[in-house]
Amino acid sequence: MNPITPIINGLAITLKHLFMKPVTLQYPDERPKVAARFRGLHALNVSHNKAKCVACYLCPTVCPAKCITVEAGEDSNHDKFASKYEIDMLRCIFCGYCVEACPVDAIRMTGEFELANYHRKDFIYSKERLLEKK
């Protein structure tokens, strides 16, 4: 086969690409647009100034990574609520099963994806930290 034509074709392709708009995202300066259904950090939904969670234990049951710890408590109205709700982000696989399983729509997932930290203990997200994410 003629060896010159493919080389010229290749050169034409690279020259065409030279004038294309680069796809690079200058990350810390430019932020990616996260999809609406992106599964990032969890957040506990709030209603009437308190978490909607009723501590039904469906999310720790369905969780394949066993990263959710829930402890039930009783409030002044004798309603069941989660006195402790912890997610270990080092174990979480962001599958979203907890969101699917929740019968009262108490947990959702946000677009937050920068979860790096310096200490292991900082990866365990307590109820307060999960509530902060409105």
């Binding site: 080389i7 290749g10 050169l11 392709i13 690279t14 020259l15 690409h17 030279l18 294309m20 708009k21 680069p22 796809v23 690079t24 200058q26």
Partner: protein, 354 residues
């Protein structure tokens, strides 16, 4: 001007030194920014951005790289031959730069009433009224460019490492194969010009308003010389001496810090030299429209041509993958060598009848 040395006034020597310095610094800067340009161009050809974070659009990247390499730890392997190991980067670097001595980068300009030819190893003889340069300039360049490989072979040997040795061996084999074809390719040019002086060759291409270039008369020779030169200076697609996939980093595997930077600089300086030589031999050197009337336009045309060729080198690098070793040898000995010989014969026959 009272002081005279060898019958020439002091200012003349100062002008010459300034010329050398300006040319050298310009080449150094070009070498530094060739690395930046290469990363930028290849980046954009791969629809990336290339360096962006040091300075505006990464413009300070070469300086940052230089400073980083300068402060890196210098490692000399305990089993290496220390003297050869230390001297090898210099042997690679120096020929790459001194080649520039004979390349004309402009016509004759007047400084303080003295006519200074824009070519380092040249002077204007006022009595004879013409420029004298090295009359075997091309031979000098071929000699220097083949000297550069000694640095690489020495580096490969002195490192006392298998990868380095393989890189050095490949470099020498490649150099021998392609030096021959490159040399034979430009013989056709000398058959047309009848001189080895680069200044004369540029002068001969000044017809047609500066467009009587040898590339139009010798397209095959130009093509072959450029490709063989790429192989000679170990650039992609012929960068087998430092093929990362096979040889880690080839001859410079064991080098670190400033010595590695010297090899890097030598590589890019060689690229500048080869592009300058191709521009001189085939693209009319500093010739161009109005270059004779306005001597300062000469260097502009020359630099534009050299930069275009360097862009072409980078373009090729972004396009072609590395040749396999046997393909490289096949191309050198079975394609380019016969083609160059046939080209000489054809040029001879045509030259005889015209």
């Amino acid at each position: 001007m009272g002081i005279e040395i060898l019958g020439l006034p002091m200012m003349y020597y100062i002008a010459m030194v300034v010329k050398v310095l300006v040319a050298f610094v310009f080449v150094l800067l070009t070498v530094a920014y060739a690395t930046y340009a290469e990363r930028k161009i290849i980046g954009h050809m791969q629809v990336r951005l290339g360096p962006m974070r040091t300075g505006w659009h990464g413009l300070l990247q070469p300086i940052a790289d230089g400073v980083k390499l300068f402060f890196k730890e210098e490692i000399i392997p305990s089993q290496a031959s220390t003297f050869a190991f230390l001297i090898a980067p210099l042997i690679a670097l120096v020929p790459a730069f001194i080649t520039f001595a004979v390349i004309p980068f402009g016509g004759v300009i007047e400084v303080f009433g003295y006519k200074v030819p824009l070519q380092i190893a040249a002077y204007y003889d006022t009595a004879a009224g013409q420029v004298f340069d090295v009359n075997v300039g091309v031979l000098y360049i071929l000699a220097m460019s083949s000297l550069g490989v000694y640095g690489i072979v020495l580096a490969g040997w002195a490192s006392n490492s298998k990868y380095s040795l393989m890189g050095g061996l490949r470099a020498s084999a490649q150099m021998i194969s392609y030096e021959l074809s490159a040399g034979l390719a430009i013989i056709a040019v000398f058959m047309l010009s009848g001189t080895l002086s680069l200044g004369k060759i540029v002068e001969l291409q000044s017809g047609f308003g500066g467009f009587e270039w040898y590339i139009f008369k010798q397209p095959l020779a130009a093509f072959m010389f450029f490709i063989c030169s790429l192989a000679e200076i170990n650039r992609t697609p012929f960068d087998l001496p430092e093929a990362e996939t096979e040889l880690v980093s080839g001859f410079c595997t064991e080098y670190s810090s400033m010595k590695y930077a010297m090899f890097f600089m030598a590589e890019y300086a060689n690229m500048v030299t080869v592009c300058a030589l191709t521009a001189t031999l085939f693209l009319g050197g500093w010739n161009g429209p109005l270059a004779v009337a306005f001597p300062l336009l000469g260097p502009v045309y020359f630099v534009a041509k050299v930069y275009f060729l360097m862009f072409f080198c980078m373009w090729i690098r972004a396009t072609l993958p590395r040749y396999r070793y046997d393909q490289l040898m096949h191309l050198g000995w079975k394609v380019f060598l016969p083609l160059a010989l046939v080209n000489i014969v054809i040029t001879g026959i045509i030259g005889y009848f015209i």
